[in-house]
């Protein structure tokens, strides 16, 4: 390992060291606040070391990792999202009786896994990053291990994720058998017609299955609603942002590194995209639990991403990335609001819980409304510009079917987003007993404020970020 290589993967190293530090800290003395401080410090240090790494980019670290502008950009998003989750989780965990500290340890490990995904250029690192992420998530999802719902969610996730990993591995193995290499770069020149073409194809399909599971797209979406509902809110936010973000970063790079997206994969992804958009939105219509609703809507959102991915080209990649950033910001904000609404013991879940919210806690309700509007893709929010870029990507690739489905399904989506808003604006006279509003801590308030700001900035003035994304996408090749 040369010095420059170390500098290049400094963000990863720092975070890994942080996880060890947190563990040692826990071993010495359990102190919730100190653990949070260490974790945040680690995340922040790692974030700032991105610039150090940037000076070395692009760097190929052995054959496993490639630290280029693209990877660093995604790492930045992931780190930011992870920090937000940590800040949001603090008051949530503060009110619980069990051990709290391991949460941060696991969250940091999962973030490392996700970052490795963003930078991986080799099957082994991809697989290990993914597993690091999943295994941390199993434990995180069932973190309140004495309650039924989280346990159930954790078991469901475990069983399905483990089998999807097996699928993925088998697919990777088939590709390996067909090609004899595990580096993505070297796979590019492989042609379908040569020997092992069938194994390669089967392997591709299996890999797409595995990735599809992590992204929770139809037809691999079955776990999503249960996990979203069952897991504690910070973890749900984590699953929705850091986990999906990492896998998504990988997907883009993989398609890119394997040459132009090969025909069958694009076709499969296109079908998946359409199915996800429609199924996600239609099923979301029937939900009364907000967390489940957001789960189904996330399925639909993944469908929108895939539209940009399928569209391909420089515009498609950049659009997908922008959409991801917008989505991360928004969904973090939405879950942050849900967190702020609950008071530790009770989680806010149903429409009834938010009924008349506007008149009880106007500021929070406004923030939540902004988040929902962004999810729905109403102008002046990040979500709109994301959707705009995706639409532009789809139109420039003349994928008309996808564009039309996108339009129709996002109109369907409006119906249930509006239902949430309507519930918030309805009269609260019906629910006479006022939920005792817990005071928001400084951390969550800060996060929510920043997220709202980000939402508006992304929605109104996307120029700088868009430039960065374009550059990063260009670095991808």
């Amino acid at each position: 390992m040369t010095v420059s290589a170390i500098r290049a993967c400094l963000p990863l190293l720092i975070l890994a060291v942080t996880s060890v530090a947190v563990m040692i800290g826990i071993a010495i003395q359990r102190n919730h606040r100190a653990t949070v401080v260490i974790s945040l410090a680690g995340l922040a240090l790692s974030f700032f070391s991105l610039w150090t790494a940037y000076s070395e980019a692009p760097a190929q670290i052995t054959s496993l990792l490639v630290i280029d502008q693209y990877a660093l950009l995604y790492m930045g998003f992931l780190l930011a999202a992870s920090s937000a989750v940590v800040l949001l989780a603090f008051p949530y965990l503060e009110n619980r009786s069990e051990h709290k500290e391991e949460f941060y340890l696991l969250a940091i490990l999962a973030t490392v896994g996700s970052m490795v995904l963003a930078a991986s250029s080799h099957m082994a690192s991809f697989f290990l990053g993914l597993e690091l992420l999943s295994i941390s998530l199993y434990a995180l999802i069932s973190y309140p291990r004495t309650q039924d719902l989280p346990l159930e969610a954790g078991i469901k996730y475990l069983v399905l994720a483990a089998s999807s990993s097996a699928f993925l591995l088998f697919g990777l193995a088939l590709i390996y058998i067909a090609q004899g290499t595990m580096e993505f770069r070297r796979m590019a020149g492989f042609s379908m017609d040569s020997a092992g073409g069938f194994a390669y194809l089967a392997g591709l399909v299996l890999v797409v299955t595995g990735i599809g599971f992590k992204l929770a797209v139809v037809p691999f979406h079955l776990w999503t609603p249960d996990v979203y509902q069952g897991a504690p809110v910070p973890v749900t936010a984590f699953v929705a942002t850091v986990s999906k973000g990492g896998v998504f970063a990988f997907l883009l790079r993989w398609l890119r590194a394997g040459g132009a997206p090969s025909e069958p994969v694009t076709l499969i992804l296109g079908i998946i995209a359409i199915a996800s958009m429609l199924v996600g939105n239609l099923l979301a219509l029937r939900q009364t639990n907000i967390k489940r609703l957001l789960a189904y809507s996330s399925i639909a959102h993944m469908g929108y991403f895939l539209v940009a991915v399928v569209a391909g080209g420089a515009l498609g990649k950049a659009a997908a990335t922008y959409y991801l950033v917008a989505y991360i910001t928004t969904i973090l904000g939405a879950f942050g609001c849900l967190l702020a609404l609950g008071n530790g013991a009770v989680e806010t879940e149903t429409f009834d819980d938010v009924r008349g919210l506007l008149w009880r806690r106007p500021v929070l309700a406004s923030v939540f409304t902004a988040m929902i509007l962004s999810l729905a893709g109403i102008p002046l929010t990040a979500g709109f510009l994301g959707k705009f870029y995706v639409l532009a990507a789809g139109a420039s690739a003349t994928a008309w079917l996808l564009v039309v489905v996108l339009i129709i399904s996002s109109t369907i989506g409006l119906v249930y987003y509006l239902r949430i808003i309507v519930a918030m604006f309805a009269d609260s006279e019906g629910t006479a007993e006022e939920v005792k509003a817990s005071r928001l801590g400084i951390g969550p308030s800060l996060v929510l404020a920043l997220l709202t700001l980000g939402l508006v900035v992304l929605g109104v003035y996307p120029g700088p970020l868009w430039n960065g994304i374009r550059a990063a996408a260009a670095a991808l090749g």
Partner: protein
Amino acid sequence: MLIAFYFAALIAVLTTAIAITRRHAVHALLYLIVSLLAVAVVFYIIGAPFLAALELIIDAGAIMVLFLFVIMMLNIGERATEVETTWLKPAVWAGPSALATVLIAELILVAVTSGSSAAPMHVVTPKEIGVSLFGPYAIAVELVSLLLMAGLVGAYHLGRRAVREEEQFGTGTDARRAVFGRDAVHAGSDRTSHAA
């Protein structure tokens, strides 16, 4: 050689099929172990003796014992004793042990004949694995260590009893500690075996 390969593979498939159709968890587990043994033999035959050993030690050994522990722990209670008596019947052990014997015989056969085998075969030695593990795959090894750490922490957190739970699972503690001890040992063995 080829016959031996297919024979071992056949046993692997057969025992797996039996394993997943058994009603009793312990029976299934026993057959599964035999299946893993068969896979280990296959590894040996196709030139990965080091992996064959690892498969034996870790997969068939550690992980399966982990399963066994948990299955046993789950049955702690009133009906545990009578269930346990049925487990220990010789009939249960007959099938797996017979198959295992066959495998061992085959392994010995292969080991004896392999020296004289005509087919030139690339055998990946432990040294070769070690070199590439700490060469190009050094980062991956670090990742594995993080992975194991995550597993450890997660299992520790989830397995811990709830603070205010009744003491009815009193005997479980030691066993669980053993489980995690095993995990740690396993992690250690993984690392040390890399060094080999």
